[in-house]
Symmetry: D3
Subunit: 287 residues, 6 copies
């Protein structure tokens, strides 16, 4: 069960309204790598966690914090929209400054939300539930979590350069710091999962015996760039210690010809079996 | 530019048709973590790569291989559907074996594709372009790539247990091995990025000075599980060496009250300014 | 900012696993009218509320409760999936009881989530941000809220009849009660908004003067059913007291012919201006 | 079966083209609360209506009218786009007036539709079938209908202030009036459903006996705003007359700990059962 | 403006309920090539048509007919669902016949629609506005129309074989006939557009002079199948009479190396410019 | 299996960056009729093709070429974005030239992709797998292919007029030519399918006997435009030679009244059976 205080985790007050930035901020609210994604991703991972104890408790701590991040951003967005032009007549757009705002702002923030955020990204595409993952395998999921915090911090950093409003920057500095903390935290949790012997570096830690071993250490050279074999992935031991890497320069298909089976007549795929039948069918109909 | 041979990278021949499994295989074709995702993700990362040389060449090698994985799976899917029931009359479903197939198969594979795969996941939801990421920051993207290969291998492993067809298993053993190779490869590439001094462990490697340092090492205790502080993320140095971790047990909001600014009258949000006006408006209309 | 306790708002323990019902329950988690929708709808309405005081505080109370409803359902779903068949080989489906489960269960709950819920509806379609509304106008939004609680209670009632598991029914009885409480609550809030003089019955309470009055009280008879004029909407005062209803039996279009303006030649729409040009264009190319 | 006249229900002639407004108008065509939504919502409600007579006939009258509203808006949109800049070269955008139009217009109206509307909202997101509801329960559906007309009128009112073109305003005055008429009409139909004894105020009018009565009248205080209990929802009889309201100030979870059942080994969730196995698995592979 | 009669264009009465078929029929209602698509596609083409006269009038005749097809299918779907099992308890599914129905039916038709159709396809994915096209160029659009009628008739034919209910088959025979009529009709309209000199066979009939002529008649041999050059597209005049076909067997890229420009430092893409900076950044932070 | 060369099929070098055009180009990358669509459409058609030989080989040749088109456009897009404003502060937008760019550019190309394309259309909506069709019936699919090349060439032609950059135009001239070649090619393939006797002009070439012949040649006059019967579709033989066309001027519904069956009580649809019950239910609850 959840509880709420109406105070924000961190301050979210712009020095001045900025409708253009309010649109861009939507990416951090409802984008594929925005705060809504990490919120729901961590909640579902926590609820789906099969190991009671420190991992589950950590996930729920962070998940609950993230709901408050959506709150901060939604509040900031509404404040940035204060006084955004709502009377956008043809006359108004003759002023280049107004025109710039009109061109760049998210019109749904006015028409649909009445001066607040939507649950969409910076192009107005709604957030959706396929952005999140909660597979039950902590190693596989923590790898997504590091990735999500990395993409999230990257987008926050880009947005940081797109404003010079001290209030907005102050909040973004907090967000940047939390994304740093959470990246480090998930990296530490990945290490700990291995130290605890709960997961290995490769997910899932199973079926290694059954997979075709001869294809588990090679990199195939399917493109003509010549520098691929210069990296540490081209020779030497793989990070999980299980194989020696090699770079397969002369790639050859191992399988036979790609072909689809003969068609079911009831599905009317084109087939040699049609020969003669079609002419007859049409003739029969002709008056 | 691309070239194609009609031979498959690996064999994809089921020992017998299995329409139920053909539906499940859709997850590896058009699911959020399926082969279509890694194909397009690596292609766009390669085209968007700003560093010529080993990283770009590696990405394009793997990207091109992945198109062939979609091909293998699409071919396998069509072959699994050979002889799937296309005449599903009320009589037919009285046979429990047929009924099971009818209930569990993907009806669009018959109605829409005529006995072949669609570009959808195992629930029939179409693949979409928001599944991929190509941010231009190699560290942030390689972290997604490891995660994608981990989720992909996990799903392949689950599917492996859902069939006992030797032909299908043979192909999945190849897929499992490639996912192992690619997980190791991206992990090696992450190491190399740091050894080359191109990226640090935290993405992006910038703005550390400006972020609020005091919030970059703490984990907030927003849920009531007591075991969170038992992990390696609760104290000691963070993986990037920049901070000491600490676990903030008594969390307090740092910001003020969440509030939205006063409404623009032209947007008709509910507001104290409405008082009296509405009664008047309605009265004026009354006959 | 939010806090969390790991205890559920209400118990969510099935008496026995039921993978078929776990799929159906997805409708209440990630369906258009599920708990995720009311959670996010109320949160965004609260954050976007322009009147401090009882309305905003009520919205945030209910919003925070609803996150806990998603939690109850997600937990119930995982428990219903315990022991769901994960080895769905061709042999297994020869048993009609297993076949029934396989046919009717959500395969992504196994392949993607590893035995837990996804953020999707009962057909596997992901939840998305366009399901919610937070317009800033409390009357318009509370009307959606009543509707959402009504649709939600209706779906819960339907699901109640689709199980006879006492544990599942116990939780659904709690959900039914909360949906009753919340329907009544939003109905009361709609009354109070009018008593407080903040909103009238019709949203928004503005522009009544400017709308074409002669069309604000008529129902147009565009279909040939003869019973439409028998209702209370066909004569007498309208609920907001502003107009007399009337039923317009002989409908006539009031506007001119629908037509699109002449095409811009640079957009290559088909146009009489093409006459002669095309023949010439093709001739010029012919060898 | 449907018939059509090429005359519009109401006039739809702008005084001058305005590509910026043509984009905003898309919200009323293909937005979540636009005319397409009410058209399809009412059609499916009518076709799905289980009570022959006045309700069904009313729904079909209104549904058929609404198709004509989509037609008016589509025609207006095409006319607003007449002469919109189709040669948007880098030179052209140096003129701020042209630049404003280019920035704010919907580029797909040019590239995809050749100067006409798309079936999308004002951010270009396509309309979809999840926007509509037709549950078969008239009370639950009429509540959505009132909400839809309220949101629709609210958006129309906002758009009314975003133009000063007399022709566009003339059409919007008609739309405002129809939305008033339809809001009143659905409110009247809700009253009539109760007077006819077909539905009660709470949907569905069933299972009241079985729901947990003690939770059907309380509002839970999960957030820290203090003004929630000041409203009419905090005490006194609920609108449906069935319960006394009360405000539960000291909320306590009623359920046990949220937990997921032990993992199925075939699904490779992280589990204490992994201990020791993973180290062994990796060791076996090491050369 | 539209009018409606409550009589169906053709009869839609099944001889017996069949919940399995009711799900499959959704493909013809809300699938990408279903009746909803042609309805909205033709309506938007008609409204967007820039040539008054026979083409526009034809489009509107057919568009209006198609709304009635959605109506027939929606009605048929509701009737097929009569008596579908709504009490799907664990006991019930022990009966293989019931189990088959439960596995194969669309659960949302019960939970969401209360025994009627949704606006979705046979996998439950909602219909959306990107399925339609109305470009303003009649030749380009009529080609889509022929294709839509062909795909629609193909799916209808497949569904025809999936039922032996005489009532359902009777309606499908009408649908098959209309799809034949409409395919022929659009083929005739394509001929007429050319005879009238309004459009040529290739869309749009413009810019032929400016396109690179040397690439307008060749087929590139990018795959290794050897039979490509055996078709009539490999030599001889192209259908539009403008070019001689040729098959380019030794394909060579004509462009330079694919490369992305140097990164903007404010976007934090990985770049050689990072060298040295990152190590310094991290060092500075270390305690 | 696929191979790749890093050289582009054709050159893709703009003379100067143009962030506005980079957004528009997204339509050709990830739009419904963009290069991604034809790439995946042809690949799935090829893999699903049931006739070995010239048709399948042709499809795979073209499919493989199209992947290279996505590559050209993605590369062009990244190059057009070079130097696009990434510091979009409130000050910057005071310059009308910058403001124009900011208003019209795709903000996700900066925030999400770091100066490269996304897999979305020009309004930022992600590409999805429902855009493609591969039905197994070559005639039905080739008709979609002609349509796709026609819509694609139409959009390319429109974009050609929206730039005067010689480098961009040079690439578009190549694209225009390829679209011409491919339209002609698919038209030729449609002819050949008929000459080979594999398919007739109407898809599928089956069930003509069973469809209701009397409805296979008529055009219904459901709208009031008077010019419909002036076309070649109103009389004379249909293109497939099977019927005489006729225009049915006085249309009459052939079916009975549209009605839904009586409701299942467990689904709580509104029904006459509710009469009396609801009042009783509510009374029982009242204190």
């Amino acid at each position: 069960m959840f509880l709420h205080t109406s105070r924000l985790q961190f301050e979210a007050k712009p020095s001045a309204p900025d409708a253009l930035f309010a649109r861009k901020l939507q990416e951090l609210i409802g984008g594929a790598w925005g705060e809504m994604t990490v919120t729901m991703q961590y909640l579902f991972q926590g609820w789906n966690c099969r190991v009671e104890g420190k991992y589950k408790d950590l996930i729920m701590d962070v998940a609950t914090e993230e709901i408050g991040h959506v709150e901060m951003l939604a509040t900031m967005c509404a404040r940035l929209l204060e006084g955004a032009p709502s009377e956008m007549t043809a006359d108004a757009v003759k002023d280049p400054a107004v025109a710039a705002v009109l061109g760049g702002m998210d019109v749904q923030q006015a028409i649909v939300s009445g001066g607040g955020p939507t649950l969409s990204d910076s192009n107005g595409v709604p957030w959706n539930g396929r952005y999140i993952v909660a597979s039950g395998n902590l190693m596989a999921d923590f790898r997504v979590n590091v990735a999500a915090e990395a993409q999230g911090r990257l987008q926050t950093a880009r947005l940081y350069n797109m404003t010079d409003d001290p209030g907005v920057r102050d909040m973004l500095k907090f967000n940047l710091a939390r994304d740093t903390a959470h990246q480090n935290m998930w990296l530490a949790a990945i290490e700990e999962l291995q130290e605890d012997g709960l997961e290995g570096p490769i997910s899932p830690s199973a079926l290694f015996d059954e997979e075709h071993q001869e294809h588990a250490g090679t990199i195939w050279h399917n493109s003509d760039g010549v520098h691929g074999p210069e990296g540490r992935w081209a020779s030497g031991p793989a990070p999980d210690g299980s194989h020696e890497f090699s770079y397969l320069m002369d790639v050859e298909p191992l399988g036979g010809k790609a072909s689809a089976p003969p068609p079911d007549p009831m599905l009317y795929a084109t087939s040699p079996a049609n020969l003669g039948l079609i002419e007859k069918a049409i003739k029969k109909l002709a008056p």
